[in-house]
Symmetry: C2
Subunit: 154 residues, 2 copies
């Protein structure tokens, strides 16, 4: 695919940016996960509840949910299974497609989300946005938007 001779290597600046991106992203993720753990949720579980809270009827098709969360269908099945056992979510038959399954947030799930949200949002502020200028926020948004669009196509 890419052989030694024709590879466009990263220059030192790019290497440094890439490493800082990797490291900061990992630390940020780990930190937010630790804070969320106090509320009894993992990052993916929190994002999942957020998606459902925004959906009409607090429910979404499994595969739409998986797509939005950048999760494999298999992983989502497991995650929903665990959350269903805790009563945060429930499965419903999909009226329009007998293959389909709807994941729906319960009232208990909504309560857990409401409890976790202030701490989580505060964490995102304190650990990310508070350290960025307005220009950096715009730049980050534009950059990640482009990267995301590219990866969604390919």
């Amino acid at each position: 695919m890419a052989d030694e001779a024709t590879t466009r290597w990263l220059d030192e600046r790019e290497q440094a940016v890439w490493r800082e991106f990797l490291v900061a992203t990992l630390m940020l993720w780990e930190r937010l996960a630790r804070e969320l753990a106090d509320a009894g949720l993992s990052m993916p579980e929190y994002e999942l509840l957020v998606r459902l809270s925004e959906a009409p009827g607090w429910q979404l098709r499994m595969s739409d949910l998986a797509g939005g969360l950048v999760s494999s269908r298999s992983r989502l099945t497991h995650t929903i299974g665990r959350m269903e056992a805790r009563g945060l979510v429930e499965r419903r038959a999909c009226p329009s497609d007998k293959r389909g399954v709807l994941a729906a947030m319960t009232e208990a799930g909504y309560q857990v989300l409401v409890d976790a949200a202030p701490t989580h949002v505060t964490g995102v502020r304190e650990h990310l946005f508070d350290h960025l200028t307005a220009e950096q926020v715009d730049s980050l948004g534009a950059a990640m938007g482009q990267v995301g669009r590219h990866l969604r196509e390919a």
Copy 2:
């Protein structure tokens, strides 16, 4: 910690940036991981070999390595164990501290790294840097640098 009333919520722009950051980062990670899998390495394993390749004598203390990789000590122990079984790495006694262990890259490990590097670097270029302007690269580097510094302190 942060209660409902005093939380500084994210405005719509910030929410959008945060979500795009999360999603793009996950997609990027997943894509690079898939490409690296062809070379028989996971992302953490690749980064681990890179760190060792930069270290004097191709070796580092376990905890220094864990710190650099943003990995728990336990995870590193397991990862090194598996890589040692594959012959990519070996453990050595630490001369200065009898508690310590040095992780050292083998010649075979170096070969695997050299094989994987072109594909991986090309992926980082194609999926990240090729979509960023020079200004966005600078901005991203500065932003992640600040976030990283903050998280290292706290």
